[in-house]
């Protein structure tokens, strides 16, 4: 398999694929709870090579030629969906995109039936986004092809977490010993859940900051049971931001206020919005990440979102590289 072209091979560090590919153990990408630090580092290393591919004039390598990647989205998504499509195309895979609202799924076809049909059609990888937590786990029980979780309910969003980790890794050069503050709707956030696993595995400490109504009641017990001493809970934003290396506000869905979880959006903005003034509490060079889409003026002020410390747009670009790396590892790489 040839990934590199002669004129750019010099920018890829070492040989490709790297020898460390032997640490890779995954058939599926379901969450980061079962990733080792070595595996996460391998993903970053492959993503570096993919980032190099993305700088070329022709952003395409033949790595997954002849492979079919199917995206099955039961929830609307712009960036994750586009990111996976581009990633697969950049690797020369064929892509089929199924929008659950338009296909026979809307006629009552079950998830398992849809998956079996997709498998029978010859797909090699299914990328699934679903509003029900655990749906990708159900998928792995009924099909033999690789499953990538592109977000399931409140549970996990491993590719988003990996691109967050990768963005931090590229900008700071490490994750170990960083203080990472995640602010907002922790209860409903699959991004936060996956990031907790990935960030702590890489040696960072995580502060979860939210109004009490947006923190799961079982969170403290979860931290104890899952032995995550580097995760802490803070209901006020000021101490949460104190000395942070990384700050990640989460999207606040307006419906949360309507369902009574917040007294008012006004108060949320007063108490939790990441403003320039509050960002000063963090370290001077602290990075601002956001999993998108942004609710400007609610969880984050526009000045911060588009300010010098923001790497939100880099996250999007890194997302393509990360998804290319994962598709390579799942469908090309070691399995070839």
């Amino acid at each position: 398999m040839k990934l590199t072209e002669p004129r750019s091979s010099a920018t890829i560090p070492g040989t490709f694929p790297p020898p460390s590919i032997s640490v890779w153990q995954h058939r599926h990408i379901l969450d980061l709870d079962d990733f080792t630090q070595e595996e996460l580092k391998l993903v970053f290393e492959i993503a570096d090579a993919m980032t190099e591919v993305l700088t070329r004039e022709v952003k395409r390598v033949p790595t997954l030629r002849g492979k079919t990647v199917v995206t099955l989205f039961y929830e609307p998504s712009t960036r994750t969906h586009a990111s996976f499509e581009l990633a697969a195309k950049n690797l020369s895979a064929d892509t089929v995109s199924l929008d659950a609202s338009k296909s026979s799924i809307a006629k009552g076809e079950s998830l398992i039936d849809s998956l079996r049909t997709i498998q029978a059609l010859g797909a090699d990888v299914i990328v699934i986004r679903h509003s029900q937590s655990g749906a990708p786990y159900l998928a792995t029980q009924y099909v033999n092809i690789s499953v990538i979780n592109a977000g399931d309910g409140w549970h996990a969003h491993p590719t988003q977490a990996l691109l967050d980790l990768y963005t931090i890794q590229r900008h700071v050069g490490k994750l170990a010993d960083l203080k990472i503050t995640i602010i907002g709707d922790i209860m409903h956030s699959r991004v936060a859940r996956s990031n907790i696993w990935g960030m702590t595995t890489m040696g960072a400490s995580v502060v979860l900051c939210a109004p009490p109504t947006l923190l799961p009641r079982g969170l403290a017990d979860f931290i104890t049971h899952c032995q995550l001493p580097n995760v802490s809970i803070e209901s006020r934003i000021e101490p949460a931001l104190e000395g942070a290396d990384i700050v990640m506000p989460l999207r606040l869905q307006v419906e949360r206020q309507q369902s009574g979880l917040l007294p008012s959006l006004r108060e949320y903005i007063q108490l939790y919005q990441l403003t320039e003034e509050r960002l000063h509490l963090a370290k001077p060079c602290a990075l601002v990440l956001h999993p998108g889409p942004i609710n400007e003026g609610i969880e984050i002020s526009p000045e911060v979102a588009y300010g010098t410390q923001s790497v939100i747009e880099n996250q999007v670009t890194n997302g393509v590289a990360i998804r290319m790396a994962l598709l390579y590892l799942i469908a090309g790489g070691k399995n070839k």
Binding site: L111, H155, P216, G218, H225, C226
Partner: protein, 449 residues
């Protein structure tokens, strides 16, 4: 009438009479005719004999809480299949919940269940009538007439009666009839959309939780209303430590409350939702077979429930047998039906508590026989006893026989069990209803003299 039957050399265990010894038991014309020491019984012509050496012989199990799904949901279970599953589980009398379609809120529907059970059933079926018409929580059913037709109590199981006013009126009415109100205790506003116990596992899995308080709030309300009305209250499927404490205090005050717990709430925790974590397999899954309402709780709750049984705070063990089709369970966790198919695993599962020393055998059998019989009363014959003259409803089980649960071999249409593949120690060997053997293990040998 079946021929006379001698059950010989078994361990006779009848908590009601304090019998706990090796002996013989003779059945003739559907009744128990004699109980005594081995080989000392009266001689009988045409006598068949079961060698019960090594087996426990006890009154037939009585299940106060099951779902037979007929009429209306015959794809999940029928009275014919459900009663055969009950027989395999050692149950000789089962009380079926009225959340059928149509629900058991009229004399006609109660009559339908009784007649179908008589014609097609393997064990005795005693229906429970609805508290409110259509289980809507708004208007009382014609409870007195339902009782006349054979309802042994009233419940809107599956749904709580949300209105305190309506349930207090139901209690007033049923008090006069002497029958229990059997309430499914759940504050639906608090549990709204919940899928499993609210705790660290629900947090880890990103599933909406059902807090223990959702049950306890309604238990507390019902106990207050039972005190107010003087009515008999039976709290169904108790699952939390807090409920046990509320019922304990109510009993101390003399409130007429009884309570039940299921085998699965006594043996499984919320962690079971993450899959059956064994040495061979520790992959995380979202196991819909462990999705049940009330949800599986914590180790602390289990300890309190077992203590509640030992302290007589919890009177009864009932299965809440809730069969579902494969389609109901083979789907996303959030979309799957709540419920566990429980008849055929009940004893095996409960015997683990006996073998672990958490419950003694006599207490266990009492909770499956004597105590539920007390709640039903004697209107349908004296049950839960080995007393001569009583109907011969008897269960034989081997407390030490090891077996592996295979849901595919269930007589129930509902293969939805979280115990599939579990090894149990303790197995039902034969079930006798009215002197007739309705289930026998392949190891049973009946000799004719």
């Amino acid at each position: 009438m079946p021929p006379s039957l001698l059950i010989s050399g078994g361990h006779l265990l009848d908590p009601g009479q304090g019998i706990d010894k090796i002996g013989d038991l003779l059945i003739a014309e559907g009744k128990i005719t004699w109980v005594g020491d081995k080989g000392t019984g009266p001689l009988q012509p045409d006598l068949s004999t079961i060698d019960a050496t090594g087996l426990t012989v006890c009154p037939g199990f009585i299940d106060l809480h099951c779902h037979l799904r007929e009429p209306g949901f015959e794809d999940k279970e029928t009275i014919a299949t459900g009663t055969r599953a009950a027989a395999r589980g050692g149950f000789t009398t089962i009380c079926c919940m009225p959340n059928t379609s149509p629900p058991l809120d009229t004399q006609a529907s109660i009559d339908y269940v009784k007649k179908t059970a008589k014609n097609e059933g393997a064990v005795r079926v005693l229906p429970i009538g609805c508290i409110t018409k259509g289980r809507q929580g708004k208007e009382l059913t014609e409870m007195s007439e339902l009782a006349d037709m054979g309802a042994i109590g009233f419940s809107d199981d599956g749904e709580p009666v949300t209105s305190s006013q309506i349930i207090s009126l139901a209690m007033d009415y049923s008090h006069d009839l002497g029958l229990p109100i059997i309430d499914h205790c759940e504050d639906k506003e608090l549990s709204n959309g919940g899928l499993m116990n609210d705790g660290w596992v629900s947090t880890r899995l990103g599933l909406k939780g059902i807090p223990a308080a959702a049950e306890e709030i309604t238990v507390a309300r019902d106990l207050a209303l039972a005190q107010l009305t003087g009515a008999r209250l039976h709290v169904t499927h108790v699952s939390t430590e807090g409920s046990v404490e509320l019922i304990r205090r109510a009993k101390e005050k003399g409130i007429a409350v009884t309570a039940e717990v299921t085998p699965h709430h006594l043996t499984l925790t919320e962690e079971r939702v993450m899959g059956w974590q064994s040495e061979k397999n520790n992959q995380l899954i979202y196991d819909t077979n462990a999705k049940v309402n009330p949800p599986l709780r914590t180790r602390g709750d289990i300890a309190a429930l077992i203590k509640g049984l030992n302290d007589s705070v919890i009177d009864v063990i009932a299965t809440d047998h809730a069969p579902h089709t494969l389609v109901d369970k083979m789907c996303e966790f959030g979309l799957a039906a709540f419920g566990i198919s429980g008849f055929e695993t009940a004893l095996g599962c409960l015997m683990a508590l006996v073998h672990n020393g958490e419950l003694d055998l006599t207490t266990l059998i009492s909770k499956l026989t004597l105590e539920p019989a007390r709640i039903i009363g004697t209107r349908y014959g004296e049950q839960g006893t080995l007393k001569p003259g009583c109907q011969a409803d008897i269960t034989l089980f081997d407390p030490n026989k090891e077996w592996i649960v295979s849901s595919q071999n269930f007589a129930s249409k509902g293969k939805n069990t979280p115990f599939d593949g579990y090894q149990f120690k303790g197995k039902v060997i034969a079930t006798i209803v009215g002197g007739k053997i309705v289930y026998q293990d392949s190891s049973v040998r009946i000799e004719k003299k």
